[in-house]
């Protein structure tokens, strides 16, 4: 019984949150890695792209709620997601046309593009703050729990409850669908194949008649869709606050680099590695250990390795370790 209780507590506080957070990071990291693979620079504006997409979703959700349109037990934000993705696509395509294309034609060094993306980050950040303000916004509705802790306890008769929030379940489902679609697109369709070819060897791809502008455009569309989805899921799970998305930049980059920049499978693996490390290292293990350890060995403290305020440090340290021992990432990424 104690073992089961320990397992449930572990799932409740570590596994479920980490899986949800990992899916969000994986979606974010996929966007970063796609831009890196095709456009060959680290996009510092990615966090703010996520914030912009999520902001449109919040606004559309409010509109739908005001019109009395709901999605039953599911959050209305899912209905708003397609609109948000469209809005975000428009924004990144305009940005690409006005800003990035010029440098692409100049064949500017990647680091110049990184600085340019810094400018774009400022503008997107400013836009989001300008439109919706810098404060916390709540937009989740529908049923709060798939299983609440109390139901679980009465159902199983265990002392520990396992709560799964709707947002967590939705995060995982949506992430799986998005990733499946992405991989189907990259591996099976002609356009996806041309994208991978362009990423592997630009000159050869150009020689075989692939239109680079089209590849870039489709990349941006995919990135906008992924970023918006990640942003909305994160917002549903936690809450929508523009500055938090900027801070997500670090774990997202860590995920992409740990997995190997430019490698989509690596981005997903990296997302989960970072998420699980963050959650396990900042979780107070007292409860689980109390169930598992014999009475005489029960821990006296919280057995928390690091306070939650240091969660950035965790992704950072993992990043450093991987960079020091395997600079191209766990799955072979590219190094320009």
């Amino acid at each position: 019984m104690d073992f089961l209780n320990a397992l449930v507590a572990l799932s409740n506080f570590v596994l479920v949150p980490a899986i949800a957070y990992g899916s969000q990071l994986a979606l974010g990291a996929l966007g970063v890695t796609l831009i890196y693979g095709i456009l060959r620079f680290s996009n510092f504006a990615h966090g703010d792209t996520m914030a912009f997409g999520a902001m449109i979703a919040v606004l559309v959700t409010w509109g739908l709620q005001a019109a009395g349109i709901g999605f039953g037990p599911l959050p209305t934000a899912l209905l708003a997601l397609p609109f948000a993705i469209l809005g975000c696509i428009v924004l990144v395509l305009i940005t690409d046309r006005l800003v990035y294309r010029f440098y692409r034609e100049q064949k500017a060094k990647p680091v110049i593009l990184v600085i340019v993306s810094m400018g774009v980050m400022f503008i997107m950040n400013g836009l989001v703050r300008f439109i919706i303000g810098p404060d916390d916004q709540r937009f989740s509705d529908g049923a709060r729990f798939l299983i609440s802790a109390r139901d679980f306890k009465t159902l199983t008769g265990l002392d520990e409850g396992l709560a799964i929030r709707t947002s967590q379940a939705i995060t995982v489902v949506v992430a799986v669908v998005a990733v499946a679609l992405l991989f189907w697109f990259l591996n099976k369709t002609r356009t996806g194949k041309s994208m991978r070819a362009y990423s592997d060897n630009e000159d050869l791809a150009l020689l075989s008649g692939i239109n680079p502008e089209r590849v870039v455009m489709i990349t941006w569309i995919l990135v906008a869709a992924l970023a918006t989805t990640a942003g909305v899921l994160y917002g549903l799970d936690k809450s929508f606050k523009p500055f938090v998305y900027f801070q997500l930049l670090l774990p997202i980059f860590a995920s992409a680099i740990v997995g190997g920049l430019g490698n989509p499978i690596g981005a997903i693996a990296g997302g989960f590695i970072i998420a699980f490390s963050e959650v396990t290292i900042t979780y107070a293990w007292k409860k689980v250990l109390t169930y598992l350890a014999p009475e005489s060995l029960e821990p006296s403290g919280l057995v928390q390795l690091l306070s939650t305020d240091y969660k950035f440090a965790v992704s950072f340290v993992i990043l450093l370790i991987v960079l020091l021992f395997k600079p191209t990432g766990l799955f072979k990424g590219k190094a320009v």
């Binding site: 680091v111 303000g133 450093l320 320009v336």
Partner: protein
């Protein structure tokens, strides 16, 4: 127009903008802009050293600036009575043990032959070391934080003159930069960017959470001023000689005392800026500076000529970060308090980058000019935005939601404007206002 004339005109123009602030708004506001402009200029020189001279992409400026601020607390505030005996020595011991753990792990990684034994030993050293560290650290830190938490709860400082904290801030930042550079330099340029971005966030997290160090989010107040150059307003107002001089200028004693205190800071900052600018110019024109630029322009060729690229990069990375640390110490001195939650990456990292790029990367005078210009805009865009919004919304009916929203949002015009300026300069004048020669 010849090159020097154009550059002088640009500086005169920015000076004129600040003077204009003095005439139209208030002299207090103008000197505030001047003081923060001077500090920003020093940060810009630091970043320019790294980016302009050597092409290193450091986005952790905020972290080094914050370390400078920490140095001010550690050097100039009085020691908390009883804190050292309560737990201070224990904390130091724990930190030393922690450092020893890392050193031991690195030693094993380098000396032992590769294999499963090596991996296991490293993991064992790290885990045992971590738990020993926590076992010693936690009770001691708690003991220090328990001392008078409303006003102290930290170790306090050395009670030395605050001016000493400025070079100390530089040293602290240099030490951190050495550690980061040792690990991240030599990897790809983007990786250095991510690494510095991360370390800056971690430094801020430490400042916010380690209450025994600098009171965390409870902030440290009442940092002593660099007397005798900068006095206290009350003392000046009670000094009959000062009041008489103020009257001669046609100012009342209160205004004159605040202006005088701020100008005292300006004088000190100006001296530091001129010294660093002189040094940076000397460095730029020295064989060392030419070598740096050679490395920046073609690493492979420089390496073929026998230059140790990674070492030189580490050197300039440490130097540039130290300058940012000095600026950070000066800023905390100017504020008179350390508020860790005030450190925002957009304001302290990316804004400095805008300054360097707009001013002209690779040119020290450009960086200084950019710093003053961008800081002036950063301060003034908000009132201008508000004025603009009021103009736009003048025709709308009072009480309309859109009008209220637009006027409220004017405060966020800053980021938008800075982004636009950066992109426009990068596009149409990528070498900046005063380009590199």
């Amino acid at each position: 127009m010849s090159e020097p004339v154009k550059n002088t005109l640009l500086f005169v123009l920015v000076g004129g903008l600040i003077l204009l602030t003095g005439f139209t708004q208030s002299w207090n506001a103008a000197i505030l802009i001047l003081n923060m402009g001077l500090i920003s200029a020093i940060m810009a020189i630091g970043v320019n050293l790294q980016w302009g001279f050597a092409g290193l992409f450091n986005v952790g400026v905020m972290g080094f600036v914050a370390l400078g601020g920490l140095a001010v607390v550690l050097i100039s505030t009085p020691v908390t009575p009883g804190a050292w005996s309560a737990g201070g020595y224990g904390i130091v011991l724990a930190l030393l043990l922690g450092a020893a753990t890392v050193v031991a792990a690195v030693f094993v990684a380098q000396k032992m032959s590769k294999g499963r034994m090596q991996t296991l030993s490293i993991i064992a050293i790290l885990i045992i070391g971590f738990f020993v560290y926590r076992a010693i650290f936690d009770p001691n830190a708690a003991a220090v934080e328990a001392i008078d938490p409303a006003i102290a709860g930290n170790l306090g400082g050395l009670n030395l003159p605050v001016l000493l904290a400025w070079p100390a801030g530089g040293l602290l930042a240099a030490g951190a930069a050495w550690l980061i550079g040792k690990t991240a330099l030599g990897l790809r340029s983007d990786y250095l960017a991510i690494a510095t971005l991360g370390i800056a966030e971690i430094i801020i997290a430490i400042l916010k959470n380690e209450d025994w160090l600098a009171r965390g989010v409870k902030n440290v107040y009442g940092i002593p001023r660099p007397a005798p150059v900068v006095g206290y307003e009350v003392d000046l107002q009670n000094d009959p000689g000062f009041v008489a001089r103020a009257e001669w200028f046609g100012l009342d004693a209160v205004t004159a005392s605040t202006l005088s205190v701020k100008l005292g800071y300006s004088l000190l900052f100006l001296i530091v800026l001129l010294m660093l600018l002189w040094m940076a110019q000397k460095a730029l024109r020295s064989p060392w500076g030419r070598m740096m630029r050679a490395i920046r322009d073609n690493e492979v060729a420089a390496e073929a000529m026998g230059k140790d690229v990674t070492r030189r990069h580490l050197q300039i990375f440490v130097l540039g970060s130290a300058i940012c640390g000095i600026a950070g110490a000066m800023m905390t001195t100017l504020d008179g308090q350390l508020t860790p939650s005030a450190y925002q990456p957009l304001r302290f990292t990316f804004l400095v980058w805008v300054m360097v790029i707009v001013g002209g990367s690779g040119n020290n005078f450009g960086a200084v000019l950019g710093a003053f210009l961008i800081w002036f805009l950063w301060v003034q865009v908000e009132p201008i935005g508000l004025w603009l919004m009021n103009l736009i919304t003048a025709g709308m009916p009072d009480g309309s939601a859109l009008k209220a929203h637009l006027i409220e949002s004017a405060a966020h015009m800053r980021l938008l404007t800075m982004g636009l300026i950066l992109l426009i300069v990068l596009r149409f004048s990528p070498r900046g206002l005063i380009p590199e020669k």
